[in-house]
């Protein structure tokens, strides 16, 4: 079986980064909504989806320049910076819980800026978008944390977060968030990577986090967690189908076969 030359070399229309950033910042709205009632906690899951989408797109933007150490590090770095901003934001806002996400966002901006600035100007990494993307990743990470807090505990107050920390579940949020933003680009790495497929995978990883947040919320919300899990599974299924369909369109799919002969150049 000889393989036809690849088609579809035209780059599909890119969704603007600013639009995705705006969507990411909008994730604060469902996060706030989720704190209003235990039965509305599933709305925080949509906050998770949006914040994750923003983070994954930023990782994609910066990684396309080739960051040398690989994509996983930047995901872990982003969430590492975010967790500090989030904790500081919660402490600064302990008397005014609704302000905590905003304070954390500003602190994440600062942390991301400092890290991006160091990488670009002190370490002299030749990536023009480094500062902007580092800021975006840290800010997306901070919003992702708060969306998780709202979905899992039903509130964004420090008491809920302290319980999450006491049980160590904060590390679960850290790693599913980190993998959520780094997996989409890392898994689609290659010559024919396109934004459409990568962002669909970002929605899949967001859906995974939605389900996991739902399972974890059993500890805090009891039976109301079922709603979150069900909605999460639905969101994941929709996103997964979309991703698989796009992969089948983009790739050469066969159910089985021997290795094709490549036309020697």
């Amino acid at each position: 079986m000889t393989v036809a030359p690849s088609s579809g070399g035209v780059e599909a229309k890119q969704i603007r980064s600013d639009l995705i950033a705006a969507l990411g910042i909008l994730s604060i709205a469902p996060t706030y909504a989720a704190t209003m009632s235990h039965y509305l906690a599933f709305l925080g899951g949509f906050g998770i989806l949006l914040a994750n989408l923003w983070g994954a797109n930023s990782v994609r933007t910066v990684a396309k320049y080739g960051i040398g150490t690989g994509v996983p590090s930047i995901g872990m770095l982003g969430l590492g910076g975010s967790i500090i901003a989030v904790m500081a934001g919660l402490y600064f806002g302990h008397s005014l819980p609704l302000a905590a996400p905003l304070i954390a966002f500003v602190l994440a901006l600062l942390v991301g800026f400092v890290i991006g600035f160091s990488a670009r100007y002190i370490l002299k990494m030749k990536i023009p978008v480094m500062v902007r993307c580092m800021v975006e990743i840290c800010c997306a990470g901070s919003l992702l944390f708060f969306a998780h807090f709202a979905t899992i505990t039903g509130s964004i107050e420090i008491t809920g977060v302290e319980e999450l920390t006491r049980t160590g579940i904060i590390m679960l949020i850290f790693i599913i968030g980190a993998l959520g933003i780094l997996h989409p680009y890392n898994a689609c790495l290659g010559a024919d990577e396109n934004q459409q497929r990568t962002l669909r995978l970002a929605l899949v990883t967001g859906g995974t986090q939605f389900i996991l947040a739902g399972i974890t919320s059993i500890l805090f919300l009891g039976s109301a967690a079922i709603i979150t899990i069900v909605v999460g599974v639905l969101a994941w299924l929709v996103a997964f189908r979309a991703f698989v369909r796009k992969s089948f369109e983009d790739g050469i799919v066969c159910s089985t076969g021997l290795i094709p002969e490549v036309e020697t150049k």
Binding site: V3, H183, N186, T198, T208, F243, V253, C254, I259
Partner: protein, 298 residues
Amino acid sequence: MLDVSTGLGIVALMGAAATIAGAAEDLESDIGSQSNPNSQVQLAPQVGVLHRIFNKAISGEPPAYAFYSSIAATVAWILMTANVNVITSFVVGSFVAALFHGAYATTAYLGRLASQRRYGQPIYLDVIHNHLLGIMGHGFVATFCILVLSYTLWALLKHPFPFVMLAFIWGITIGAIGSSTGDVHYGSEREFQNQPFGAGLNAAYSGKIVTRAEIGTRSSIDNAWFCAKFGGPATGICFGLIIFLDNWRTVVFDPRMAVIVGFAIVAILIAINRALEVFARKTYGPYPEKVAMLGGGE
């Protein structure tokens, strides 16, 4: 503080769990080609070598195993707080983690190969069917043992860090170890099985991985058979030794002696490494063509 004999028994249990976890982790990352040797699988289509290997690119192994371990630990924790039996909680937790593992592995394979269309690399659906359960199964075993290890450390040795955090930390550690030791066996010996034994990989052969097996095409599932002869058990012994030695010295000795014993063990390790290096240099000898080119002599 525990008395020494109970402490030693606990440490031995932890060491055993760690050994199994290490071996399973390495074999899992060989069935689903992950982390560093996967760079060659990724490169292969670009140099014209199409393959039927499971290109599983879920970040590196440390974050991936931290991911599965944290999920398993959280689910197990939820069940334990509901007074479910500990072992049952671990089984259910590891099973849930294996499900997510399978989902991520599938998306990685589809994503990476769809991005290699221009080289003509097909996405084989039967590769997914054949390998997914093997990947999930090995991941299940590794995750279960990490949970046993973390729980023993937390509940019996009364470590101050929470259970889920300990599982996270051991997930990262086991990933780092598996990636450093067993993956070398897979990367240099199995992926390039047609290259002669006794040399590193010449850069000219980059990407030219073995794609045809004894009969038919090379399938990743057979990598477990090969690497279980050396790479897998070596990784297991490595992780088991680390857990055992680190906890043995804190259980048996008082804090001051524990630190001194630790330094002593490190000194012994340096000596063993030196002995191994000398052995290898003497047994293998220099390359004659290099001696001729660069001038001989020690």
